[in-house]
């Protein structure tokens, strides 16, 4: 493990293999809370936070609990429980200690339990055989990739309100088509590598 391997994981998670636009993980919140710029940013920050923590705890659970006990096939169940508990705990902790942050992230936290990007990052960490540091980096940068995509998309959507398009495309369809165009732009990053 070296600095370049970490850098290539980070670059991959943010740009080349963006969680939303290339891997299709976390589409629901991407579509749901991207109508306004500030809510999108709030959601993005909450996701970075939870994805980082989920990577840490799921890695620990897998390494010190599931593998030694020979329960690796229970990964999905264990991970989703860890994530649900984590989200609940983070919510209570923030509520008690950092009320300002809680108010900023509050309403997005419960939604994150069923965000497939969070479970996805935990499963992908195990599948790719990442070690502890690589897992944490992948989790946090994956969250940053999510934030980049959702903030870009929110700014596009704000402009869509003034655009003219066929009536049948009202609402969701036009959002999907514009998300497609952003993903087309992100394809420009494929082939980008760190030597």
């Amino acid at each position: 493990m070296s600095f370049t391997s970490i850098l290539s994981i980070a670059l991959g998670a943010i740009l080349v293999e963006n969680f939303i636009l290339v891997k299709f993980l976390g589409i629901c919140p991407f579509m749901g809370v991207s109508k306004k710029m500030d809510t999108a940013l709030g959601m993005g920050l909450a996701v970075i936070f939870v994805m980082g923590l989920a990577s840490i705890f799921c890695w620990l659970v897998n390494e010190y609990l599931l593998v030694p006990l020979g329960l690796a096939y229970m990964q999905t169940v264990a991970y989703i429980l860890v994530i649900a508990a984590l989200v609940q705990f983070v919510e209570m902790f923030l509520h008690k200690t950092v009320p300002t942050l809680y108010e900023a992230l509050g309403i997005y936290l419960p939604l994150i339990t069923t965000n497939c990007a969070v479970l996805g990052v935990a499963l992908l960490n195990t599948q790719n055989g990442y070690n502890f540091i690589e897992s944490v980096v992948y989790g946090i940068t994956g969250g940053i990739g999510f934030t980049v995509a959702i903030v870009l998309f929110a700014s596009v959507r704000e402009r869509l309100e003034f655009a003219e398009y066929p009536e049948a495309f009202e609402g969701f369809p036009i959002a999907l088509v514009s998300a497609g165009l952003i993903s087309l732009a992100f394809m420009g990053f494929s082939g980008l590598r760190v030597w």
């Binding site: 636009l21 976390g26 629901c28 497939c116 479970l119 088509v177």
Partner: protein, 215 residues
């Protein structure tokens, strides 16, 4: 209990993907060959029926405050079973769907139906709801797969027919590769939902007109 209405709801008027807009991730990600679409559709349908039945059975036992966590554990149990079965008997499907099989746990369709339907209705009605919603999901997946595969790769039935290669309909060199890529997923689903919105609106306008005439 109205079976015909439930069937119509699942397939069209309350279609999980096209109208309720649930389960987007898997719909966009895996619809590149017919094999993937059918495999994913059937897996989700089976899990949906099982989890609906169990949650409906337990609906009076599960305390209100922790119901979501309880639902997730039930769903995750069935997903693990299906995941292991697919790994054992259909390794090809397991390879091509990859991480999206365990991710069925957080597929909003299943949790959504558990919360909206199974937690309030009888076992039989919940099982039927699972079946019909599952069929609605599968049909959308198959439509997406057929469109994307035909226009993006020029074939039909990839992974199943013609030894896994699919039957070539458009000669090589002509298909637009773009539709197999992520962009194609967003575009196809966007157009499909637009089509359904248009059709539903027309249908509503029409039934309104006939009502007025009847008056």
């Amino acid at each position: 209990m109205n079976i015909r209405k439930q069937f119509k709801d699942g397939l069209i008027t309350q279609n999980p993907v096209l109208v309720q807009l649930l389960g987007m991730c898997s719909t966009l990600a895996i619809t590149t060959t017919l094999f993937n679409g059918i495999g994913m559709g059937i897996s989700v349908t089976i899990i949906l029926i099982c989890s609906n039945v169990v949650i409906s059975l337990l609906r009076k036992v599960i305390p209100q405050d922790i119901r979501i966590a309880a639902y997730i554990v039930v769903i995750a149990g069935f997903v693990t079973m299906v995941d292991l079965l697919i790994q054992a008997f259909l390794p090809d499907l397991s390879n091509s769907l990859g991480v999206f099989i365990p991710l069925i746990v957080v597929n909003c369709i299943i949790l959504g139906r558990a919360e909206a339907f199974a937690s309030k209705n009888s076992v039989l009605a919940s099982a039927l709801d699972g079946l019909f919603q599952g069929i609605g999901y599968t049909v959308v997946l198959i439509i997406m797969c057929v469109i994307r595969e035909l226009l993006g790769n020029g074939t039909f039935g990839g992974g199943i027919l013609n030894g896994g290669l699919g039957i070539r309909i458009i000669p090589e060199g002509y298909p637009a590769m773009l539709l197999i890529l992520p962009f194609g997923g967003f575009l196809t689903l966007g157009c499909l939902i637009a089509l359904v919105q248009w059709a539903l609106k027309r249908y509503e306008a029409k039934s309104k007109k006939t009502e007025e005439v009847a008056k």
